[in-house]
């Protein structure tokens, strides 16, 4: 009948208008600054650098290998390798990023840096409240602003973080075993070399390397 559709439409909007006062289903607004939608676990915005332990500078997993810098499609990562080595969270001396900047005004959240990182050092953050009127200072995140603790990572991506931790632990166990074997081998070699004192200096180094993680085996994995 003529006008039937109009009446149907009017009824629907009336149902919405009245329903918005009584039913939550018909008032879907989430009042943003006060309430927030729970972010899905897979949500991502910009990368951040994971650190272990409490000291962000010491605990950075990043070893400044610059793979992410090379792989980044829009080239928004800038890394300066350090000249020296500092002990990382496990006490191993490592090259560390002297500068690690991400220009989030360019970053397109593609996650390629995360996928290529062999050290699980860079992960995707979910923080989105980044708008600023400062074009350069506000949008160029440096090392300090990027560093977030592993606990934070667990908070935002629990499943993924546990997997990463398990993987790291497994790798560590492997590395420990390897180190032990190496240590054993070195010890054997040292014992063997005791007779011949010349190569002893050369073998001294791996011993130190292998010993350090063995000294604090529970250092990570929390």
């Amino acid at each position: 009948m003529l006008g039937e559709g109009i009446l149907k439409g009017l009824a629907e909007t009336a149902r919405n208008a009245v329903g918005s006062f009584v039913s939550k289903d018909r008032l879907t607004t989430v009042e943003y600054p006060e309430e927030r939608l729970p972010l899905p676990e897979a949500s991502r915005n910009f990368p951040f650098l994971v650190y272990d332990g409490t000291d962000w500078e010491k605990g950075l997993r990043c070893v400044a290998c610059q793979i992410c810098e090379k792989e980044c499609p829009p080239k928004c990562i800038y890394i300066d390798k350090s000249k020296d080595k500092k002990p990382d969270a496990f006490g191993r001396p490592q090259i560390y990023p002297a500068k690690f900047d991400i220009d989030i005004s360019v970053c397109m959240s593609c996650q390629i840096c995360v996928e290529v990182c062999p050290f699980e050092a860079i992960k995707m953050d979910t923080q989105y409240e980044l708008s600023t009127d400062d074009r350069f200072g506000g949008l160029l995140l440096d090392r300090k602003e990027l560093a977030k603790s592993n606990e934070y990572y667990h908070q935002i991506h629990p499943t993924e973080a546990s997997e990463v931790d398990a993987k790291l632990a497994a790798e560590k166990v492997k590395a420990d075993a390897k180190a032990k074997a190496a240590a054993g081998a070195a010890a054997a070699k040292a014992a063997a070399a005791a007779a011949a004192p010349k190569p002893a200096e050369a073998a001294a180094k791996p011993v130190v390397l292998a010993d350090a993680p063995a000294a604090k085996p529970q250092g990570e994995g929390d």
Partner: protein, 202 residues
């Protein structure tokens, strides 16, 4: 007026305000965006006005189709070099006071297309941008937060002296030169007055 005296008066039930506060309150709470979208960020902008996020709560759902009646230009998406003159022209056609939000990586810096031949490396080369929202694209909440950042910025603007809004500054630039398609690039490549070439110290 002194802040302390004002609070004291407020306790006594006397509310005082200045013209500056009233004016800033008015224009901060009635920012009407302009109705145009450039690329994928526009979809998020549309989502922001929809039921779940509801930009209308801030009184900003009045998307005006005509630049004359709009206060806020949300540059939502990639500004190609072909489109840049039109964006600048639209900005010129807006009436003061006017604000610009650059939404998303492309609008701020060219984003993933930064190295492309065809994309403007950030709209702030031609027009002054008030708030930048990084993201590709930013979430609707990010736009809401940027909106609140803008409101805060408006609220804190003094009407006289240093840092006064552009439309109250007789010497400020009102009309911005519209770039034209040159042989290889837009000419001029940037508006020197709003885009002093930055020196980034790393």
């Amino acid at each position: 007026m002194e802040e302390g005296l004002k609070i004291e008066l407020g306790k006594q039930g006397v509310f005082v305000t200045t013209i500056e506060e009233l004016y800033n309150w008015g224009r901060k709470n009635s920012v009407w965006p302009m109705q145009f979208g450039l690329a994928c960020c526009a979809i998020e902008m549309i989502a922001t006005t929809m039921a779940r996020y509801d930009l209308a709560r801030f009184g900003a759902e009045v998307f005006r189709p005509s630049p004359r009646q709009a206060d806020l230009m949300i540059i939502s998406g990639t500004v190609t070099k072909k489109m840049a003159p039109q964006v600048v022209r639209l900005y010129n056609q807006m009436a003061e006071p006017r604000y610009v939000i650059a939404m998303g990586a492309c609008a701020i810096s060219g984003g993933p297309f930064k190295q492309g031949y065809n994309v403007l490396k950030g709209i702030d080369r031609y027009i002054p941008v008030d708030v930048h929202i990084p993201g590709c694209p930013p979430r609707p909440e990010a736009l809401l937060q940027a909106f609140m950042t803008l409101q805060k910025k408006i609220e804190e603007q003094p009407l006289t002296g240093e840092g006064r809004p552009r439309h109250l500054d007789a010497e400020a630039q009102g009309e911005f030169p519209v770039p034209v398609q040159g042989e290889h690039d837009l000419e001029p490549t940037s508006n020197k007055l709003v885009w002093p070439l930055p020196v980034v110290i790393r």
